[in-house]
């Protein structure tokens, strides 16, 4: 048995009186692509926010590759190899692709106390490579992200996660607001994660999207995990009936 890449033990979270997570246990193994489904308010986002370092659990613990970790900020989560792509897309539209790829993790030529001159040549070269790696073809690393389509933006976000050797990619509703064609593209990216040796957590309330791209389905309701089966042993109807 391999060491799980993520293990959540008895995670609990309250939001001003609301019990958002009720003792959640979840184990994810390397290379799995897990679809996390559930209605609004089921606790999906709370769980994801804990894993991405935006919120901190009130009790319980998170283990990454068998070691207990404290995720106090997005930076902590990224340092442990957990990268999150949000539905609103964590890209700055007014900045170039090359600059977006390296926000907060710029390669430096020279720096003092963490501030200094960026190596822009390297940023350009590496972003071209990173984008090609996810099979996305863009005009130039200097193009503004705001000029890309929604699907292309998610592609760049995924390229960014891969470039920084993330272990786990958390996709929070990445297909919202996308056209059918763009959605197919993003689902293609998710399917491609396994080939790149990445673990994926795909959050969506579109069952079709999850069933098309994941090999395990986890469903949440009222702050608890109520369902957990390999995709091959279940059906959309079965999950629907539960929620």
């Amino acid at each position: 048995m391999t060491t799980p890449v993520i293990e959540c033990r008895n995670l609990q979270k309250w939001y001003s009186g609301v019990h958002a997570l009720k003792s959640v246990n979840l184990t994810i193994h390397p290379g799995e692509t897990v679809g996390l489904v559930g209605d609004n308010g089921a606790g999906k986002s709370t769980l994801i926010k804990i894993l991405s370092g935006v919120h901190h659990q009130d009790s319980g613990e998170v283990l990454i590759e068998g070691r207990k970790v404290e995720l106090r900020s997005p930076k902590d989560a990224m340092r442990h190899g957990l990268e999150t792509i949000y539905q609103y897309n964590s890209m700055v539209p007014t900045m170039s692709i090359a600059r977006n790829l390296f926000i907060g993790r710029e390669p430096m030529k020279w720096s003092l106390f963490g501030i200094g001159i960026m190596d822009q040549k390297r940023m350009r070269a590496e972003s071209v490579q990173a984008i090609a790696d996810v099979d996305l073809h863009l005009r130039s690393p200097d193009a503004l992200v705001g000029e890309l389509s929604g699907g292309q933006r998610q592609g760049v976000a995924i390229a960014r996660a891969m470039h920084f050797k993330s272990k786990v990619l958390i996709l929070d509703e990445p297909t919202n607001h996308l056209s059918v064609k763009e959605t197919d593209k993003v689902i293609g990216f998710v399917r491609g994660l396994k080939a790149q040796g990445l673990t994926g957590i795909f959050i969506s309330h579109n069952m079709q999207h999850v069933f098309q791209s994941c090999d395990r389905i986890v469903a949440m309701a009222r702050g608890e995990i109520v369902f957990d089966k390999p995709t091959s042993e279940t059906s959309i109807d079965e999950v629907h009936a539960l929620l």
Binding site: S52, V54, S73, P74, K75, M78, T84, Y86, Y88, N89, S90, M91, V92, P93, T94, M95, R99, F102, I103, G104, R105, E106, M108, S111, G114, I115, G116, I117, M118, Q120, H137, L138, R139, S140, G146, E147
Partner: protein, 327 residues
């Protein structure tokens, strides 16, 4: 050609530059060649650094998504506090550094209050506009204190050499503009400023300390405004409590004319300088062309609106031009 056009459309400050050249030509003719005469350029270049430094600070702050209305008051408060300290026996260097420290503190308060209480910086700095102006008048005691006559004006406002075109303030301005411009385009900190203004949530989710970045911009903006005030007072030789009134809005106008977006994320130091040059040229050109000087604000108003509309239009046009097709 298409590529060239797109690059041009993506850089609104270049449109400002084109407009500047046109205006220079028009006023040059209307003023019978006085506009670009040595003496006149010399006069304008003496004023330029003061407003340009304020505009640069405001531009940086606008790029990071915030706003500062208090720069005009800080412009007056810094030299006034320095003058009071000088009269109290503090040596010049100490008084200047303490004065700039006062500005940094004001910038910090602006930023901290805005971010901690999640209120619009427009409101915070409107409050600070009144507070800093009031402090200026209170510490002056109602009478502008006299400045000692032995101040090192050679370092700040004297002409670089006898009969030179530029004052020393111009050297400071060029140096500071180059430093701030380099910070914005070459450093990771510049990247964070743009990210914070372009899309705050995205910047925060990538682990950028957004609040600290913004507070640093507020402080930079206030310090630049104070330093600009110091230059003006050393040039005039007397710290009047009323200097800098209305400057905050001219600085915003200069930033916007130079292509800075009010919503944040977009703008350049070069654009701020072009915007300032345009305003100064119009001011000076109208006077030299013997137009009633009261038309000055009218012209700035029209230009500001025109600049924003033109920028939006150029951005739209630019997005339509795809230089190379997608594969």
């Amino acid at each position: 050609m298409k590529r060239f056009l797109k690059i041009y459309l993506d850089k609104p400050e270049l449109a400002g530059l084109a407009l500047l050249i046109v205006l220079l030509a028009v006023f040059q003719v209307k003023s019978n060649g006085i506009l670009l005469s040595f003496e006149n350029v010399r006069g304008v270049m003496g004023l330029l650094p003061e407003m340009a430094l304020v505009a640069i600070g405001v531009t940086i702050l606008m790029i990071c998504g915030e706003f500062d209305l208090s720069v005009g008051s800080v412009f007056a408060l810094m030299p006034m506090s320095m003058a009071v300290m000088l009269n109290g026996g503090v040596p010049f260097t100490g008084a200047v550094l303490l004065g700039l420290l006062v500005c940094a503190v004001i910038g910090f308060i602006n930023g901290y209050v805005t971010l901690q209480f999640a209120i619009p910086s427009f409101i915070t700095t409107l409050g600070m506009l009144f507070i800093a102006r009031s402090l200026t008048i209170v510490i002056s005691g109602g009478f502008p204190p006299l400045l000692p006559s032995d101040l090192p004006t050679w370092l700040f406002t004297d002409y670089i050499w006898q009969g030179a075109l530029f004052r020393m303030s111009f050297v400071w301005f060029v140096g500071i503009a180059a430093l701030v411009g380099a910070m914005l385009s070459l450093t990771n900190f510049g990247n964070w400023i743009r990210a914070a203004g372009g899309f705050n949530e995205a910047a925060a989710s990538m682990g950028i300390p957004v609040k600290r970045v913004k507070i640093a911009c507020f402080m930079l903006c206030s310090v630049l405004a104070g330093f600009a005030g110091l230059l003006q007072v050393l040039r005039l030789g007397s710290p009047l409590p009323s200097i800098g009134e209305g400057l905050e809005l001219q600085a915003v106008a200069a930033a916007v004319i130079g292509g800075t977006a009010l919503a944040g994320g977009i703008g350049t130091v070069f654009g701020a300088i072009i915007g300032t040059l345009l305003i100064r040229t119009i001011d000076n050109g109208l006077v030299l062309s013997r137009v009633d000087a009261n038309w000055f604000k009218f012209a700035i108003g029209v230009l500001t609106m025109f600049a924003v509309i033109a920028n939006a239009w150029m951005g739209k046009l630019s997005r339509k031009i795809k230089v190379e097709a997608h594969k």
